[in-house]
Symmetry: C2
Subunit: 434 residues, 2 copies
């Protein structure tokens, strides 16, 4: 067996054996397989695809390349939520406390932002003192004590994914369903979960531009998780426009706190409750979707979710003062107003454009080595459906300095579409795949 | 512009601009583009293909990555022949002297054997004293003085191809028409030719297994050469069974000398004359294919081609004594007989199997670092159409030692097919593409 022959077989569309996939993945990790051979293999996989059996084997091999967290000390059903990434996607900060308040244990391994989508760890770290770099044993303790924890992926978990992802990121082989499935599920399986709820984003601000692509990914995720013994469900949600009104780390924490207090944008609240409801249902804490939804809504509305959030911030070293006084969160030095270039109703706000503008301001990373600025971002003042006149303020740009703010104005202005008729604002929930 | 975005565009089937192709190829040569990015690009090209304009641009960029030979001192029409490689393919050793004897100037840049196919340089170097490592200026002098020369590709010519080929060789991206076209034509254009005759081999012992693949390659070669101002014609020739009876370096030189003396196997003579005839025609030395064929046959039959061959060997330092006494060529220490495993007529001799057996004996290289043994190889005693009884000798294995010879016997025996009916032995010339 050698890498060359395995690449040829994949290139020719043959189904690879477990041994061949092991040779490539583990060989790449230990250096027997060169990175240029791995990248040819990844591109061949992009074109030739992979069968369910191959995807399952790939995921298991990536999982077995590292440790699996010991969650035996955590009582109760352990369920996590994973999003494929969007613009303004702060849902983890709401979903985890809501589900936890109802009795779900949420051991959440999160990532950092890359490209135009944000990362939960970056958002959390905008809270003064907040830490996300806990060792596996402490992570399990936090989940047991608080009911939830959100930490970064430790290098011991699925190291093959870490190395493969870094290569995919520079060889244009990210957008490949079996590779995405292996990457997501190997890490989730390493966290010792009982079940998983997936939020597969669809639209301009998402990884998957159209519903068919998203459905293929969602379906492969659910099928592969099932083959590996992890019950999973996928919600497909709309990411054509930014979720909520805030895009940027501290801005999104502020909005999450608003929602946890019973306020905030409807779409953020609705999508969070849908995801939390599914986690409650998968955890076996409700007899049906309706009951699960009622439990989630109750925990949000009576303040229990906010209490869990407060304990969670405190347990991970964060300053809970930001809950009562969001002004304690980092604030940008320069705020500039984006005015409407049209009139009538706002009919669209392009998520990708806003996401790229926020990244350009420093809210996200263009390369893994960049650091983010917690304070900067974009605030949507006139979301879809708002009636505006030409020159009205439709968004605010939060920037480090005036020049940077003005540089982003044109970009954000171009994200808005206007029309004469009031648009119908639909639900972000597109469909559910079980 | 960056490598990532160019890979994405190629992956999505977009037509790349000249600037984008330059960025990838020259960036790879000077290190701005990483090898793992180039290999992803090459694999994306394998799947997405390339347009004629892209193939032309790629070839020109590879050509311009190095020097072009100055052949202005060589009077007369300069025409080369290039084969895509086969088993027992010693045609260059006959074609070049025949064409040269008629007045064509043949500046032939050749390669070494890799995998199951042989290389002309390896064959020539089995002649004691023979050199193929001449500087460009001396190469031109040899062509002017002798009428032909066969030398190795200097590192100054198309260095991009050299580096890309080495990467393709380990990433399973050799079998890709636009990349093959770029590789072949960039080197041929660097030799300052007036015209080119291509021998595109088809069948089990060739690069291209079936006629449709071969036709696509031949057509892309002729079209791209034309776009680049180099008139070219492609002959598609059958490589299902080894060409002639000898496979191995010194063995093939011996067979070439036999053909130059008017003897030798019919298929080698016929194919050589067809290729030489086309070179004569492209050189403008004949008014039609028939006249060109007559001129070629005349030069072979009256001994002028053998005289050119002798001058060529002498000019490149070789011992011309081997022409009168082929016994002066290296001889293998151990010769073992392969006996027929069936009876009736030999209906097939699998070129790939014989090629791999010869390589295994040391006649070829499995990796570029290996050295070849000039003496070893396989000699077909009973070519297709021979009537044999079970146990008759059908081939001889020439090996370094008895054990190695016996190791190859089973392999060579399996290359032969037998049947009750006398097979029709067709011409190796399948079609011509102009």
């Amino acid at each position: 067996m050698n890498a060359y022959e395995i690449i040829v077989r994949k290139r020719e569309g043959k189904e690879l054996t477990v041994e061949e996939l092991e040779y490539m993945v583990l060989g790449f990790v230990d250096g027997r397989v060169e990175d240029y051979q791995m990248s040819a293999f990844l591109m061949a996989t992009f074109f030739a695809g992979a069968t369910d059996a191959e995807t399952e084997a790939l995921t298991r091999i990536m999982l077995d390349s590292g440790e699996v967290l010991d969650m035996s000390g955590v009582e109760g059903p352990k369920v996590d939520k994973h999003s494929t990434g969007g613009v303004g996607d702060k849902l983890s900060l709401i979903v985890a406390p809501v589900a936890s308040a109802v009795g779900v244990r949420v051991p959440m391994l999160s990532g950092r932002g890359l490209g135009h989508t944000g990362g939960t760890l970056d958002k959390l770290e905008s809270i003064p003192g907040m830490r996300t770099d806990f060792e596996p044993a402490r992570f399990a303790e936090l989940v047991a004590d608080v009911g939830m924890a959100i930490v970064g992926q430790s290098p011991q978990l699925a190291p093959a994914d870490r190395k493969m992802y870094a290569l995919r990121d520079v060889t244009a082989t990210i957008e490949c369903v079996p590779l995405i499935v292996g990457s997501i599920l190997s890490k989730k399986l390493a966290a010792g979960l009982d079940a998983l709820v997936l939020d597969v984003k669809v639209g301009r601000g998402a990884f998957m531009g159209d519903i068919e692509q998203a459905r293929r990914l969602a379906s492969a995720l659910v099928r592969t998780a099932g083959r590996l013994g992890l019950p999973a469900v996928a919600l497909m949600t709309d990411m054509a426009s930014p979720l909520g009104r805030m895009v940027g780390n501290a801005l999104e924490v502020r909005e999450s706190i608003e929602v946890l207090k019973g306020d905030g944008p409807f779409d953020v609240r609705e999508t969070s409750l849908a995801l939390a409801g599914r986690m409650i249902l998968m955890a076996g804490l409700a007899s049906g979707a309706e009951e699960a939804g009622t439990l989630a809504t109750g925990a949000l509305d009576d303040g229990r979710a906010l209490e869990v959030f407060s304990r969670f911030i405190s347990a991970q070293g964060g300053d809970t003062g930001v809950i009562d006084d969001p002004g304690a969160l980092p604030r940008a030095a320069a705020v500039a107003e984006v005015t409407a270039s049209g009139e009538g109703y706002v009919t669209g706000v392009d998520a990708l454009t806003v996401g790229l503008a926020a990244t350009g301001l420093g809210a996200g990373r263009r390369t893994v080595d960049e650091t983010v600025d917690p304070a900067v971002g974009v605030e949507i003042v006139a979301p879809i459906g708002t009636a505006v006149g030409r020159g009205d303020v439709v968004a605010l740009v939060h920037a480090r300095e005036k020049d940077e703010a003005e540089g982003a104005l044109t970009r954000v202005r171009a994200a808005f579409d206007y029309g004469p008729d009031e648009p119908r604002v639909g639900s972000r929930l597109l469909s559910i795949l079980e």
